[in-house]
């Protein structure tokens, strides 16, 4: 056979896992995004004492698919004065950025695209930060005031909060001592503690920053429909709009995964080193079985035959996956796959919990004013993040050089950080609204 | 098998393009961007040679150059904004206050 084919075969042999996982992810993200939308609407309905989508499929379970079809067959309008090239290009950028950044993530001990690269976390952050190039370019290209305003806003916001978020991550990275994602999780398992407990301030700052980075409420000013119709997406429709949408949700997944990896102990199950809790390894199976049983119960109540049938199908699917999780326990040769499966389960569980928190906050909190947003970013979060980095470094110094107990050191420094936080907030309150408006008018562009 | 020459030629090409941009474009922003391009061309060389000699110093200097580029971009753009506020233009051939 020719050397070229040989090379190709070699390549496939070397990188088949990467290829498979990549394909899976690229395929899965739209689906997940769609159902995330469904879940969000359901949640909103629940919190507002409504039912939410119920028509398409039982309990609107097929709603995402219907939406996807609608978006795909919708006419793709392009404004006359729009800048063709960029207008076409921009949504792709944001989507691609999100997907690419997923490339370096670990969704489980084995479930990853790129093998553990030196600068994994940095890669994720950097590439996901490319996403707003799409936003700003799209806003500029569609040549409309709403769009450009939304674009400028989102960019300013992103820059401001990326700084804070990055510094918040640094506190965890200091504790981990490496950029490698796998290594980070392993450090957490060796220390038998998640970094959220070691660096709580960092975690919460990263939470705020990540909400802002994903332009979600209460920081969803770039697409604040009450102010500028849909922000940078005003002129978009149909598939490009869908791309933006997917990019946003993919971004959410990315930040959630990063938070999980850094602070929530990645794919580790709770108390992973406690022997007598190892029965928790069965929890995926149990959960899936419970879900299936519930679906059967609901199937009995469905008015229409088709729908009850569908519920049956769902239940069977659940049982099937449960079985898949169960097989390693049965066939010892498959035992090697066990940690991978469990890890994936736990990881996705944490990620969804994180995203659930996003939604929860969105339905709970009112929207910020832009100058308030900028104020929070530049006058509280960034200084606080810097102080936090210093305090964590100080804690490590105390531990390594002066042999303090790590917990003691961290508690002391955390209290210090919180004091600074209280002072910053106090300062901010002292600033009058007018003054803040004036300050922000110049700062929102100084980003 | 890659030889340093490849990288040298690449960086040469980028460098020349950057030079042309600097001297021919009238828009200060584009000029600044061309300068960034030139800096990157230099970076390529540095990184390549650090790779060749297995010494990280080259990358260190590339890092410094990137930092410098950031600083330069920030200041340059600040100047541009201030200038635009005063003169409503960013064209190089209209920035001739130095002319006697």
């Amino acid at each position: 056979m020719s050397p070229t084919t040989q090379a190709v075969l070699q390549f496939l042999q070397a990188y088949w896992v990467e290829l498979v996982c990549g394909v899976v992810i690229v395929a899965a993200v739209p689906l997940v995004a769609g159902y995330a939308v469904l879940v969000e609407r359901k949640l909103m309905a629940d919190m507002q004492a409504r039912l939410g989508p119920m028509r398409v499929g039982p309990h609107g379970l097929l709603q995402p698919i219907a939406d996807a079809v609608k978006l795909l067959i919708k006419e793709d309008i392009i404004p006359r004065d729009a800048d063709m090239l960029i207008f076409w290009f921009a949504p792709v950028i944001s989507m691609v950025a999100a997907l690419t950044s997923m490339g370096a993530l670990y969704f489980g001990p084995a479930f990853r695209v790129a093998n553990d690269i030196n600068v994994g976390i940095l890669f994720v952050v950097g590439v996901s930060s490319l996403g707003f190039l799409g936003i700003i370019l799209g806003g500029w290209a569609s040549n409309s005031h709403y769009s450009i305003l939304g674009a400028v806003r989102s960019t300013a916001q992103l820059i401001s909060y990326e700084t804070a978020g990055g510094l918040a991550m640094v506190s965890a990275l200091l504790l981990a001592g490496t950029f490698k994602i796998r290594a980070i999780v392993e450090v957490q398992s060796q220390n038998q503690v998640w970094f959220i407990f070691l660096a709580p301030v960092g975690f919460f700052m990263y939470l705020v920053a990540s909400i802002a980075e994903t332009n979600r409420a209460p920081f969803d000013l770039p697409e604040a429909e009450s102010e500028l119709v849909a922000g940078y997406m005003t002129e978009y429709s149909g598939f490009r709009w869908a791309l933006y949408f997917l990019g946003e949700y993919a971004n959410m997944i990315v930040v959630a995964s990063v938070a999980t990896t850094l602070f929530l102990g990645g794919w580790l199950r709770p108390f992973s080193n406690v022997r007598w809790l190892s029965w928790l390894d069965f929890s995926p199976v149990l959960v899936l079985v419970a879900l299936g049983v519930y679906c059967l119960y609901r199937a009995g109540k469905q008015p229409v035959k088709v729908q009850s049938g569908f519920m049956w199908a769902v239940a069977l699917g659940c049982f099937a996956v449960a079985a898949l999780f169960l097989t390693p326990w049965i066939f010892s040769p498959l035992r090697f796959a066990l940690p991978g499966l469990n890890g994936a389960f736990w990881f996705l569980l944490k990620v969804s919990a994180y995203i659930y928190m996003f939604m929860w906050l969105r339905f709970t909190l009112p929207r910020y004013r832009f100058d308030q947003l900028m104020h929070l970013g530049w006058y509280i979060l960034i200084p606080l993040a810097i102080v936090n980095v210093f305090s964590v470094g100080l804690a490590l110094l105390l531990e390594m050089e002066f042999g303090w107990n790590r917990w003691l050191a961290l508690i002391v420094t955390t209290i210090l950080t919180l004091g600074v936080a209280a002072y910053l907030v106090h300062l901010n309150d002292k600033r009058g609204a007018a003054a803040s408006a004036a300050v922000v008018a110049s700062d929102s562009y100084a980003g | 098998m890659m030889s340093p020459a490849h990288y040298l030629f690449l960086s040469l090409a980028l460098f020349l393009i950057g030079c042309v941009g600097v001297v021919t474009r009238r828009n200060v922003i584009v000029v600044l961007m061309s300068i960034e391009l030139i800096l990157n061309a230099v970076n390529i060389n540095l990184v390549m040679f650090s790779r060749v000699f297995g010494d990280v110093a080259g990358q260190v200097f590339a890092l410094f150059i990137i930092a410098d580029a950031a600083a330069e971009a920030a200041v340059g753009l600040g100047i541009i904004i201030a200038f635009f506020r005063n003169r409503e233009t960013v064209m190089t051939d209209e920035m001739d206050l130095l002319k006697w």
Binding site: - | M2, L10, L12, A13, L14, T24, N40, N43, G78
Partner: protein, 177 residues
């Protein structure tokens, strides 16, 4: 093999988009093409196994500097069509000079092939996992031998930040007062 494929891919994108960047009329297009150039250069860094620089390139250049550029482009309202270049003569001179420069450098490079020590090769690639941890090495060197330059660079950045802020809002203050 794979290495050279990657290199030519990125190099081609880099040169092409660089040329486009210089020649486009629309500034925003130039910016976009510069972004692609920078990204491909980052790719070349990665191909040279400088992961840290690769990420730094993406974060700092694409995530920071280019955003600034695009921002300024929006602020200074340059989507109005640009009128014709006025000084063709200088442009001609510039092109000639650049061309001469290129020729000279080419000549020098060709001559250099005959010098002793020429023809050394870039070490061939090992699988990524086997590589020395690039960022660790880099940071070790940076914080040991090059500590002072590092500090100076940080001061430089600080000064640049302050200067940028002052210049960008100095007129505003004048209005307020």
């Amino acid at each position: 093999m794979l290495d050279s494929i990657v290199f030519y891919f990125f190099a081609g994108i880099a040169v092409l988009s660089a040329a486009l960047m210089v020649t486009r009329r629309n500034v925003m297009h130039s910016a976009v093409f510069l972004v692609t150039t920078l990204l491909s250069i980052a790719g070349i860094f990665l191909q040279l196994r400088a992961e840290f620089l690769f990420v730094t390139q993406i974060i700092v250049y694409v995530g920071g500097i280019m955003v600034l550029f695009i921002f300024v482009i929006m602020l200074v309202r340059l989507d109005v069509p640009l009128h014709q270049m006025r000084f063709r003569f200088q442009r001609l001179v510039a092109l000639l000079v650049a061309f001469a420069l290129g020729v000279e450098v080419l000549v020098i490079l060709l001559l250099a092939r005959k010098l002793p020590g020429a023809g050394l090769f870039v070490q061939s690639t090992a699988p990524v996992s086997k590589l020395p941890p690039n960022s660790e090495e880099l940071s070790r060197t940076l914080f040991s031998n090059y500590l002072l330059p590092f500090e100076i660079a940080s001061v430089l950045l600080l000064v640049a930040m302050v200067g940028a802020v002052v210049m960008a809002k100095g007129r505003k203050r004048a209005d307020e007062s």
